[in-house]
């Protein structure tokens, strides 16, 4: 029974991290920037929603405002920092260090404003328990997380394959040089990509803390799991990233049967090492 409960919890967290992985893969596949500061955007979304809920805003409005703020922050980072560095043909390492610096700045501003302690959301409906089968129970928050995440995944698939902007993004991702010639203006598309991905990452950024609470430095571990899922899924595949995030979180949750919870980071990392050794190009790479 415990295994079944852990399985269900794994699906919930996995779906949320799947969206983090999808959003990160969107950025990485297009801009080729390993956007470490994405963890900061993720964390900021949760804090803004928390503040707005504290001021009595209704939940959907708080979520929308938080998403708008994340979008603004993401596009600011891309337009002001990354684009400028790329214009000066900075090396990969330089951009990476700048991104890490941005993460440190965001995290510590949050820590200075909200203190480094764990903050809990105060929503009466969120802890309402629903029985699924037998003894397996999920809170309303967890069900919302699954619903929103799967919906977001479907939305991203639709956006990437059916809309003109989505097609442009995929064009820039697959061949930036050709895109430049055909007047797609990769620079501008890059800003759109980061803006879109930042809005997307705000969803798990708000939903996951509803369950686990908020911490200013809490974004790094989810992002690490998400990037491992992205790499294991083959980097460019949206479905790959989403599915692998669920698989990895599942494995992590089931490992709780044998290994205490504080070592779960070790389990995640072990999965990554296995992938590096046996399938460094990822599972879904061959499909493309």
């Amino acid at each position: 029974m415990l295994a079944l409960q852990l399985l269900c919890n794994g699906i919930v967290t996995g779906c949320a991290l799947g969206i983090v992985a999808v959003s990160f893969s969107f950025i990485y596949a297009t801009t080729k920037i390993f956007h470490v500061a994405h963890a900061g955007v993720y964390t900021m979304g949760g804090y803004i929603a928390w503040s707005l809920l504290g001021h009595g805003f209704p939940a959907p409005i708080a979520l929308l405002i938080a998403m708008a703020a994340c979008t603004a922050l993401g596009s600011l980072i891309q337009a002001v920092l990354y684009a400028r560095l790329e214009q000066r043909s900075a090396t990969h390492l330089v951009i990476l260090i700048a991104s890490l610096g941005t993460l440190a700045v965001i995290q510590n501003i949050l820590a200075a404003v909200y203190t480094a302690n764990i903050l809990r959301f105060d929503l009466p409906w969120s802890s309402h328990v629903v029985t699924i089968v037998g003894n397996v129970r999920l809170t309303l928050t967890q069900l919302t997380t699954v619903a929103v995440s799967v919906g977001a995944y479907a939305g991203v698939m639709w956006f990437a394959h059916r809309t003109i902007l989505g097609k442009q993004i995929r064009a820039v991702a697959s061949n930036p040089f050709l895109a430049e010639i055909t007047r797609l203006r990769p620079r501008r598309v890059h800003v759109y990509v980061v803006a879109f991905a930042s809005a997307l990452v705000c969803l798990p950024g708000v939903l996951v803390p509803l369950d686990f609470g908020l911490q200013p430095y809490g974004g790094v571990t989810p992002l690490l799991t998400a990037t491992i899922a992205m790499i294991a899924g083959g980097v460019v595949s949206i479905t790959g990233a989403f599915v692998l995030a669920i698989v990895i979180t599942e494995l992590q949750n089931l490992s709780l049967l044998f290994i205490p919870g504080e070592w779960s980071i070790g389990v995640t990392f072990f999965i990554f090492v296995i992938f590096m050794l046996f399938r460094p190009k990822g599972l879904f790479a061959a499909a493309r």
Binding site: Y28, T102, Q107, V220, I231, I265
Partner: protein, 287 residues
């Protein structure tokens, strides 16, 4: 006077760490946020041997250095086989994993409470207890480290490393093993970090996981970035400047509760500003 001694001791230790980070990030071009983890492993190894009275200081330091060489090779080898970006994941992973081990392995590391009462270092049977002796010891260690770094960078091996930074493909085409050179650089970086860890443990006589977390890794990276990548001068200037920062901050009126946060915030801003306006740092070469 004691303040100056402890400043010099700490700065010497961080110069060793700066050299280590510089070898990895500046010279081998491997992004790393896990040097603090290696530093911590060195510190815990020396603490273990000295507290249980198994070995004296120098052999313990040697074992810590060798252990960290092994650790650094182990973590760089698989990631170097694939792509540079994957090393970011490895590096974050190692750092978070190390923090988990330091915090949760209560039997070996004392957990979150840390290990108090590490005995002072001894040299040839004589215990070094006064702060001036410690400062001399650490400054000596720093000088040896700097000399080693300078010699290595002058040697054919150093030129090979420079060549790899210029053009990896050309080096490979000339029949040199890029992978082996990078792993050797990482090994040397491990030796520096392990030694620094041992000195740190005996200097403070108390270690806990918070000295070896992600924030400390970011501090090490900031030191190299501010001082300047790929040069000896850069690895010395960075630590000396950044360790003075907490003292400067005490002059500004910041509530003590957010002092650590303010420091980290400044490190982040420094990283961004230097990358934007002066990627070579104060006294370095092009990163």
């Amino acid at each position: 006077m004691d303040f100056w001694f402890s400043y010099i001791t700490l700065a010497s230790i961080y110069v060793l760490l700066g050299l280590s980070t510089n070898l990895l990030v500046g010279i081998a071009g491997i992004f790393s946020v896990s040097q603090a983890a290696v530093f911590g492993v060195g510190a815990y190894i020396v603490a273990y041997f000295l507290m249980n009275d198994v070995l004296s200081f120098l052999p313990a330091l040697m074992i810590a250095a060798i252990g960290c060489i092994g650790l650094n090779i182990l973590v760089t080898l698989p990631a170097l086989r694939v792509s540079g970006d994957y090393f970011v994941v490895t590096s974050f992973g190692i750092q978070l994993l190390a923090t988990a081990v330091f915090t949760n392995w209560t039997g070996g590391t004392g957990g979150a409470n840390g290990l108090p009462g590490i005995p002072p270092p001894d040299l040839f049977g004589k215990a070094l207890e006064s702060s001036s002796d410690l400062a001399l010891l650490c400054a000596g260690g720093m000088l040896i480290g700097c000399l080693l770094f300078w010699l290595v960078m002058r040697a054919p091996f150093g030129r090979l490393l420079r060549a790899i930074r210029e053009d990896e493909v050309a080096v490979a085409a000339a029949g040199k093993s890029v992978l082996r050179a990078k792993v050797s650089a990482a090994a040397l970086a491990g030796a520096f970090a392990g030694t620094a860890g041992g000195l740190y443990a005996t200097f403070l006589s108390f270690i806990d996981p918070s000295s070896f977390d992600l924030d400390s890794s970011i501090l090490l990276l900031t030191m190299v970035v501010v001082g300047g990548a790929r040069t000896l001068a850069g690895s010395i200037i960075g630590p000396f400047l950044l360790l003075a920062l907490p003292q400067i901050l005490t002059l500004v009126d910041i509530p003590t509760t957010i002092a650590a946060t303010a420091r980290q915030l400044i490190y982040g801003l420094l990283l961004i500003a230097f990358m934007l306006f002066r990627p070579q740092g104060l006294a370095g070469e092009k990163l």
